[in-house]
């Protein structure tokens, strides 16, 4: 029975069970952080634009705290086994990317890049074979960003900000154009991208409403003059 080397084989088989257990725990941690961020970011819809900065500031430390989770996951995954385990954290990581992207847009008006997102979440390039943001996870994050911005366009008007929808419209159209140039397979990503059309349409309707109102107002005021 030497030949089969039962102990060696058994060890290999049991390691997996243990790794799975530990990754699960880290992902559950990441999940908690992500949920807190989402909970805070919900408030952008009732926060006037000029009081946004403190709200965003309260998210940043949580984003930073993801560095620990990232490091932990990178150390748990055995070298070269990124693709074996990545399904376990995909969902949570996508939402983390979304949070980082939303903070970035609301702070600077610009689109977070994949490498910026990695940096924000403390994911080092040298971990590529163990823990990184897969392209599709980054793109899922962007789609969630657009979903949220379409709601924001509506609520901004309610809060009296008539400029935000226009800015959002330009930004989202750019993202949409970018996605159009990607060769997506017929999978979840593709389906979610297809649904972006409705977000885009909603935003355009808001811009349209606002422009027409402005026109009527200006005509009126023109008349008054």
């Amino acid at each position: 029975m030497d030949a089969m080397d039962v102990d060696y084989l058994n060890e290999l088989l049991e390691q997996d069970v243990e790794i799975r257990e530990k990754i699960k725990q880290q992902v559950s941690d990441l999940d908690k952080k992500v949920r807190v961020m989402v909970g805070i970011l919900i408030k952008i819809h009732s926060t006037p634009t000029d009081t946004l900065p403190p709200l965003l500031d309260s998210v940043r430390p949580i984003l930073r705290s993801c560095h620990d989770t990232s490091a932990a996951l990178a150390s748990l995954v055995p070298p070269n086994q990124f693709w074996r385990w990545k399904e376990m954290w995909s969902n949570s990581l996508r939402t983390a990317v979304y949070s980082a992207a939303l903070v970035e847009y609301l702070s600077s008006g610009s689109l977070i890049t994949l490498s910026q997102a990695s940096e924000v979440l403390g994911i080092k390039e040298e971990w590529a074979d163990r823990f990184s943001i897969a392209v599709e996870d980054y793109l899922h994050g962007l789609i969630s960003l657009v979903n949220e911005l379409s709601r924001l366009a509506v609520n901004a008007v309610t809060l009296g900000d008539y400029e935000a929808p226009l800015r959002i419209s330009v930004f989202v159209k750019d993202i949409f154009a970018g996605f159009s140039m990607l060769n997506l397979k017929n999978d979840t990503l593709r389906r979610r991208f297809d649904s972006l059309k409705y977000d885009l349409k909603k935003i355009e309707e808001v811009v349209y409403d606002v422009s027409l109102r402005k026109l009527t107002d200006s005509t009126k005021s023109a008349v008054r003059k």
Binding site: A177, N183, K197, Y208, S211
Partner: protein
């Protein structure tokens, strides 16, 4: 083994068949990819800003048809493999690519002419320059390919919403898709798989109907002609 001679013959035949099948599946996959790219391309072009929409749209059609010539090259190359009864033997392998091709072709055609491409026009597109068909066009593939068109038209109508004249075009597309649905319904019991696609068509139709409705409702408040409304939007969008 005493049956060696008998089975050797089969071995040759089956290997030959499998190899051909592999080649045709590969070709079909290439056709699918090319067609999908053309569909993407068409969407991209029509979404570009342009002064004269009609001319721009014709241009998109031409670009699409031109790009689809690569598909014809593929079909020309496999022509010898699908002659006679061989075509129906390998129909399962060819069908998916063919339908995607018809989808792309009919989309380009719609952009150029505003009509549904006819059966004969598709068969002509599947023929060499002398008019000899690479293979016979099965009516099932024709219908199934067309029924995918409605999904692309929905995307076209909805994402072109804010372009100049986009609203009027959405109304046109809406009526066009409704007619398609009505026509295809008649064929549904005869063509396997068509019923399922008709469900998707219904959904697309409802989406366009809703988009068109939204236009009407929103513009109803203002007693301005569509043209002027378009201009206003155009200005604020480009600002």
């Amino acid at each position: 083994m005493s049956f060696q001679p008998i089975f050797s013959q089969f071995q040759l035949e089956l290997d030959d068949h499998n190899d051909r099948r592999e080649r045709l599946i590969k070709a079909s996959r290439d056709v699918t990819n090319l067609s999908k790219k053309v569909i993407f391309l068409l969407h991209r072009i029509v979404n570009e800003d342009a002064q004269d929409y009609r001319a721009h749209s014709k241009h998109a059609c031409e670009r699409g048809i031109e790009k689809l010539r690569e598909v014809r090259d593929i079909y020309a190359a496999i022509k010898p493999e699908v002659q006679g009864d061989s075509f129906w033997h390998h129909h399962h392998s060819i069908s998916p690519g063919l339908q995607e091709y018809i989808e792309a072709l009919s989309f380009a055609h719609y952009l150029g002419h505003g009509t549904l491409i006819t059966f004969n026009q598709v068969q002509a597109a599947l023929s060499d320059d002398l008019g000899a068909p690479y293979f016979p066009l099965p009516k099932e593939d024709y219908l199934l390919g067309l029924s995918d068109l409605t999904g692309e038209l929905m995307r076209f109508a909805i994402s072109g919403f804010s372009r100049k004249g986009g609203r009027a075009r959405a109304v046109q597309v809406c009526n066009f898709v409704r007619d398609c649905k009505s026509d295809f319904d008649r064929f549904a019991p005869f063509v396997k798989g068509l019923r399922k696609k008709q469900v998707v068509t219904s959904q697309s139709l409802e989406k366009i109907e809703h988009a068109v409705y939204a236009i009407v409702v929103r513009t109803s408040e203002y007693d301005l002609p569509q043209e002027i409304l378009d201009d206003i939007i155009g200005q604020s969008m480009s600002s």
